[in-house]
């Protein structure tokens, strides 16, 4: 039996799926429904210093594919707009009623030691198992010197983390903003400040679209719009990269990661864990489909682990980290050629036009004697870029075949064409 239980930042959880701090974890009513559905924990919607913030209407915009599926949400909502004591009372009740689930208190305050410390203490006293510092909101709060305004300054990141560490004796998670050039800098700052773990990513700063009738960005508030925070499936690659870097760079190695960003299925979660995350958090997928999606997250992840023989999350945590390297460490002598399976080919021509117009003119069309067209890869021209394989609508029709070059593993630093080559003698 695979065990979905995990420990992150010293906190035990029955499974790695937590709700991220956001509308799904806004109040007792939601979190109770989530726990009933099977979520292992919830990071409560970010709490601030009273008086509560005031939100605008409307608040969300979406990014759709052409077939109208939503791949991303953009929001301009602020932190919790309910009084602090109401939230704390509900957290206390939930902790009492659901002793096997995790509740983390997310907090945000102005750059003031007293403000951070007193808020952290109040929240810790409600019984939460950990505190998360929200240093991420890329809209609204940052204009007041909070959220990403703090998260983008490594000194502030270290400082706020240290203040909270000093104030409470429960695990501290520092939630990072992706709106930086190099995620290692704030992650290292959080580590220096004493964070038990980092949570990432918060939302990506964005304008989701423009209403071409009103000529205003969406979501539109009384005719005007603003930049907001982007999340959901579309941001997963950004979050994966940041997770991978924190896990493998020497400055941050060993720092625990609560991964967030576009996680929609068990497979997404498994990928983050493989790159070094200890557990994951989810917001958008729950907002789009409801809490029930956790059922398959749990079942699918357990089935995957059973298939692969992993007995625990720890068994495969970071398993892909060693294979994640700098470009300079890749083997330039590795060679692939595309292979088109004539039997499977439906003759749509998509591979041809993709290669012809935008790659290497490596696919030839011949008329078949019996009618129809045959597509053939010209090996001499094919650079093995994978484009044709990706555009082909038929699964496994185009495959990439390794060519036996007989040549050794060779990296760019050692390559003869590299003017800065390190002599290999």
């Amino acid at each position: 039996m695979s065990d979905l239980g995990c420990i992150i930042g010293g906190i035990e959880s029955i499974n790695p799926f937590w709700l991220a701090s956001a509308p799904p974890s806004d109040k007792k009513y939601n979190v109770e429904r989530a726990f009933k559905a099977g979520w292992g924990g919830a990071v409560w919607k970010t709490l601030g210093v009273d008086p509560p913030v005031v939100n605008v209407t409307s608040r969300y915009g979406v990014h759709r594919t052409q077939d109208r599926r939503i791949i991303g949400i953009n929001n301009i909502e602020l932190i919790s707009d309910r009084p602090l004591d109401v939230n704390l009372r509900e957290i206390e009740e939930m902790r009492r009623e659901w002793p096997d689930r995790v509740i983390i208190g997310s907090i945000m305050a102005p750059m003031d030691e007293e403000a951070w410390k007193s808020l952290a203490i109040k929240v810790a006293n409600s019984g939460v198992q950990g505190i998360e510092l929200n240093l991420g909101c890329p809209h609204g709060m940052c204009e007041r010197g909070m959220g990403s305004a703090v998260g983008q300054d490594p000194e502030f990141v270290e400082q706020t983390t240290r203040w909270v560490r000093e104030a409470v004796n429960i695990p501290v998670f520092t939630k990072l903003t992706p709106n930086v050039t190099d995620i290692i800098v704030p992650a290292a700052a959080a580590k220096a400040g004493g964070a038990h773990a980092v949570s990432l990513i918060n939302t990506v700063n964005s304008v989701i679209g423009v209403d071409l009738d009103t000529m205003a960005p969406t979501p539109t508030v009384d005719g005007r719009g603003t930049h907001g925070g982007y999340c959901g499936e579309a941001v997963k690659p950004i979050a994966l990269h940041m997770t991978a870097e924190i896990a493998r760079q020497p400055e941050t190695q060993g720092l625990e990661i609560s991964a967030i960003g576009g996680i929609t299925t068990w497979r997404d979660a498994a990928e983050f864990i493989a790159l070094g995350a200890g557990a994951v958090q989810v917001c958008t997928a729950a907002m789009l489909y409801g809490f029930r999606i956790v059922e398959d997250m749990n079942e699918g992840l357990a089935a995957f682990m059973r298939d692969k023989g992993y007995r625990s999350i720890a068994d495969f945590k970071g398993k892909a980290t060693a294979q994640t390297v700098d470009w300079n460490e890749l083997n330039i002598n590795h060679d692939l050629k595309a292979r088109i399976d004539d039997e499977a080919c439906i003759e749509c021509g998509r591979c041809f036009i993709a290669c012809e117009d935008t790659a290497h003119q490596a696919i030839r069309i011949d008329a078949k004697p019996e009618g129809g067209r045959k597509f053939t890869v010209i090996d001499d021209e094919c650079v093995g870029c994978n484009l044709c394989m990706h555009v082909c609508p038929v699964k496994d029709c185009i495959t990439m075949e390794a060519v036996d070059t007989d040549r050794p593993y060779l990296t760019w630093p050692e390559h003869p064409k590299n003017p800065l080559r390190k002599a290999a003698e």
Binding site: D67, G349, R350
Partner: protein, 451 residues
Amino acid sequence: MKHFKITTENSRLSARDIADNFDDLHPPLDGAQAIVEAGRCLYCYDAPCMNACPTRIDIPKFIHQIRSGNLDGSAQTILSANIMGGACARACPTEVLCEEVCVVHHTEGAPVKIGELQRHAVDHLMAKGGAHPFARAPLSGCKLAVVGAGPAGLSFAHRAAMLGHDVVVYEAKPKPGGLNEYGLAAYKMANDFAQAEVEFLLAIGGISIEHGKVLGDNLSLGDLCTNYDAVFIGAGLTNARGLGVDGEDLAGVGDALEFIETVRVAEDKSSVPVGDNVVVIGGGNTAIDAAVQAKCLGARNVTLAYRRGPDAMTATQWERDLATANGVVVRYWAAPKTFSGGARVERAAFSTMRMDDGKLTPSGDSFELPADMVLKAIGQTLNSAIFSALKLEGGKIAVDAHYQTSLPGVYAGGDCIKSGEDLTVQAVEDGKQAAIAADNMLRAKRKGAGE
């Protein structure tokens, strides 16, 4: 597959049932359905569907434009290749044209519904109204004559007008449209679509139609040649074939096309008389249309008798399925022998046929069906008497690769020439290509004259 309301043992059709039967065969896609359907298209390169369309509509492009929300542009893409894209979307046997070769067959088991998407885009543009989507080239000063306001003639007229010429269309019947108006099954062209389309197409300007003008009667080819810079003949096939069997002249024995026309022109379909036991003779789509429409009107028993086997039948499988799913009984290898009765036909007798050394021959057996209405759907032929000045080939007007007849300056297209198939879409393509050829000829002439 639409299931019509049909007469059963103990129920007759109401006028309402009949009106419902003649409503759209395929209800139009709504916006959301169209986007989902368009999303199935793979946007093939040099797409098979496009090559299978006689007018070579850029199908992947117009479907992509539906997806991108550019419905105006999508309609423009369709209409620039086929000005009757609306009629074709409704009437084309897509199952043997574009949709037959759609590669999504292989990935999903069923093709993209190209016809329904095409209708979605064109209907959008026509409903929107506003300016005609095509502009005319600078006027050439040339005047062109067209005989027949069917798909071929109208397509010619539209393209010629677009290329800068003025066109007069001479039409025998009181309404334009040819078989779009009088021949296509009523449920394919619901809501008077044929007239709406003609109106839309004429909005380009430069085209006038004169009704009641009949070539060979009050109009002569010689006069047309004298008075116009070029002439196009799109007169279709107007002579009904005879079976040459006893009793063919009995009341109740008639031509399927006349029956179909009666159905088409009737405001109130329930006023069209139909028999209780209808026998349709033939194996093409006209036979199917007549049989199905007889069912739609409430005929109790409809038998389609075809003298050959299923493989030889020209009606597409889809059409055959539509008929059988709605209670039409198809009898193969049945050749009519005699029709008999009193004042009206009462019975139809058939010989059973078989293939003997590649020759269709009576097997010696025969059978009889009760019949109070017999509809002959054995094809139309050219009224060749009025085309004695032109070279004919296989009973149709002979044309060269540029649609020119044996008389220089006289072009022809549609059912009256020997092209691929007798299809609306082929007639449209013929008319379009003939107009381009005529335009080239006129330009070359003017250049030659040193203009």
